[in-house]
């Protein structure tokens, strides 16, 4: 069974690049482009193995999702979280609460290599 990666990213192109990188190394990928939709998705359904969370999202911000749901929901306690942001200061603020911080621009190769390492050895 392949690990589920939830990509929460409002930019269509970036979402597709991230999805391609993760699919290429065997992740099952689910895409969400809106903060409010992500909020609903996180409250129910399968707990993902990995969340790639953009901090700037429409309606509900990535920071809110992180502090109000991801960090408090028991079901998501084992989920790995990588935040993506263009703002280095945002990375400094939330760096302690997540597994990894990726500052945009994010390289396809960089993301692929990182997530490969995160995948449990078969």
């Amino acid at each position: 069974m392949s690990e589920l990666a939830l990509i929460i990213e409002d930019d269509e192109d970036l979402a597709s690049i991230f999805a391609e990188a993760l699919r290429g190394i065997g992740y099952e990928v689910e895409l969400v482009a809106d903060g409010r939709v992500a909020q609903e998705r996180l409250k129910s359904g399968t707990a993902p193995f990995l969340i790639l969370l953009d901090m700037h999202l429409p309606h509900v911000s990535g920071a809110d999702l992180l502090t109000n749901i991801i960090k408090v929901d028991e079901r998501l306690s084992k989920t790995m979280v990588i935040i993506t942001t263009a703002d280095a200061r945002m990375g400094d603020t939330y760096g302690d609460q997540v597994d990894f911080v990726l500052i945009k621009p994010i390289s396809f190769v960089q993301l692929r290599d990182l997530t490969t390492r995160l995948k449990p050895k078969a």
Partner: protein
């Protein structure tokens, strides 16, 4: 009293003459009164004692009347003609009167001899000091003549006595005159001094008036609003610009306390604290912005000191609405650029990488090469955007240094990871070393230190055609550490060295076209180093190479996790 004074005073310009003539008038008045008393006494005496010879009384009355007329005459001479002549006449009259007051016997050796001393002494006061001798001689002559007329020998002792008295009078009158002269000289000096001071005071008052007028005109014509408060924060002065700035008449400002301004409904609530703080801590000049009825005003306040005494505060209001709007737009622009420019570039980069990595099937060599060029150019573009954003943030004072633990070895490792390929592509050797004594853990902003290293190394590679770029982390003293980036490039001409850290500048102006870039790299390095309280200098020789040497304060590792804002 005023009338008496007018009668006694003689109008003359010579103060000595005036004094003598006034003294003479007083004596005339005194003798007149004495004569009148004498006259009245004789009349009463003769009524009480009818036995007294009528003839004697008559002679006495006639004598007194003649004397009184003589005094009047002398008074007129003194007042209208000459003090000298009047004094001489008065003294002669006295002498003559004295001759007839008693029997020759008594006058020569008896009770009335002393009468002659009177004209001798007062002659020195009302005529001239030496006139005492004249009257001593006259009196001596009269005594001698009277003595001879009654058959007595000349009384030499009387003559000697008269002359001694004249000498004493002469000396005292002279010293009196000398003292008066001195006093008058002192007075004249004082008068002159007073006149000078008065003149100077008048001039300085004039100057002050002109100066005050000028200051007022300047104050009235400047565009900034100025309100001057006294020590108790009551407004004592305001210029017309304040009216336009705060939108209410000057009359409503003058004499009002500053606290009324703070409570004004036009002042935004969030600005109240700033003004209150300014009022409470009025010991240092301050500058800040307030919101006032839809306007942004910059306020600066400075205390007025007279020596060490605080006299009050000058506050200057400047309409900052437009500038604040521009700054806000700039901030927004920076945020938009930061997000909206980087996101599509990130997509371009990602797709190009996917080509290069052959995600959708095999690619030929040319296609891979093209993808690599896209990646390289996109990264360059992203680098430029980052430089511009950093520059904008630094100009806005928003760039902060985040202190944390830094491993110098990690800095170099990461530098090699980022720059080795660039150096290799150009055929340049990138080498590095760390001073053995440098602590393994330092306090610093890893990301900004990395940025400094990358900027310097990038720059060094850009301007070096062959040879090497060497990076060294050194430890010059206990409280400092440093970064040195040395290359074997073509060097910087001496006359260009002072300008290389300027924003948007490249050496020789044309280099921008050859080497690309905004010329922001070194400027950002210098500003970052300054934010870290460090120092950067450059050593260069044309044809041999350039070395950038940065020294930074070595902060103890315990004092980490502290953020500070650029000063």
């Amino acid at each position: 009293m005023k009338y008496l004074n007018a009668v006694l005073t003689v109008p003359t310009s010579d103060p000595d003459d005036a004094r003598q003539r006034r003294l003479l008038n007083i004596l005339l008045l005194g003798t007149l009164i004495a004569a009148l008393i004498g006259l009245v006494s004789i009349v009463i005496f003769s009524i009480l004692n009818p036995d007294i010879g009528q003839a004697d009384a008559q002679i006495l009355v006639i004598g007194i009347v003649v004397f009184t007329l003589g005094i009047f005459g002398i008074y007129q001479v003194n007042r209208r003609l000459s003090g000298r002549w009047a004094a001489l006449l008065f003294l002669l009259l006295l002498t003559v009167i004295f001759v007839f007051t008693d029997t020759p016997q008594e006058l020569v050796r008896g009770r009335s001899l002393f009468l002659f001393t009177i004209p001798i002494t007062i002659a020195s006061l009302i005529l001239a000091p030496q006139a005492s001798f004249l009257f001593a001689a006259i009196s001596s002559a009269i005594i001698a003549w009277l003595g001879i007329s009654i058959g007595l020998p000349i009384n030499v002792f009387v003559t000697i006595g008269f002359f001694i008295l004249a000498l004493v009078s002469w000396l005292s009158a002279r010293s009196l005159e000398a003292a008066l002269k001195e006093l008058r000289a002192v007075n004249a000096g004082l008068d002159q001094l007073v006149a000078q001071r008065t003149q100077a005071l008048a001039e300085s008052l004039d100057r002050e008036r002109i100066e005050a007028g000028r200051s007022r005109a300047i104050l009235n014509s400047i565009a900034d609003g100025v309100i001057v408060f006294d020590r108790k924060w009551n407004a004592i002065l305001a210029n017309p610009a304040v009216r336009g700035m705060l939108d209410f008449p000057l009359e409503l400002i003058i004499d009002k306390n500053f606290s009324e301004l703070i409570d004004h409904p036009k002042l935004a609530p969030k600005s109240r604290g700033l003004l209150s703080a300014m009022m409470e801590h009025d010991t240092q000049p301050v500058g800040f912005r307030i919101e006032w009825g839809g306007k942004t005003l910059s306020v600066s306040a400075a205390q007025i000191y007279n020596r060490t005494e605080n006299m009050g505060t000058v506050t200057v209001f400047r309409d900052f609405t437009r500038e604040a709007e521009v700054e806000r737009l700039k901030s927004t622009f920076v945020a938009i650029v930061s997000h909206e420019l980087r996101t599509p570039l990130n997509a371009v980069l990602g797709y190009a990488e996917m080509f290069k990595e052959a995600v959708y099937g095999p690619m030929n060599e040319k296609q891979v090469n093209m993808a690599e060029r896209i990646i390289k150019n996109t990264q360059r573009l992203l680098g430029l955007i980052n430089d511009l954003l950093d520059q904008a943030q630094m100009e806005a004072g928003k760039l902060t240094i985040q202190m944390a633990s830094v491993k110098p070895a990690d800095l170099l490792e990461s530098l090699h990871g980022l720059m080795d390929k660039t150096a290799l592509d150009k055929g340049i050797k990138l080498t590095s070393e760390i001073d053995d004594s440098l602590p393994e853990l330092l306090s610093g902003d890893a990301a900004r230190l990395q940025q400094i290293l990358v900027n310097l190394v990038n720059n060094a590679i850009k301007f070096t055609e062959k040879g090497s770029v060497h990076v060294k982390l050194f430890y010059p003293s206990q409280h400092k550490w440093g970064i040195e980036v040395a290359d074997t490039g073509h060097g910087i001409p001496e006359n260009e060295l002072p300008y290389i850290f300027d924003t948007f500048r490249q050496v020789e102006g044309t280099a921008t076209r050859i080497h690309g870039g905004f010329g922001l790299g070194l400027s950002i390095v210098k500003q970052l180093v300054n934010l870290m309280n460090g120092d950067v200098k450059v050593e260069s020789k044309v044809g041999e190479g350039t070395a950038f040497i940065i020294t930074l304060p070595l902060v103890a590792v315990e004092a980490t996790q502290t953020n500070w804002r650029a000063p």
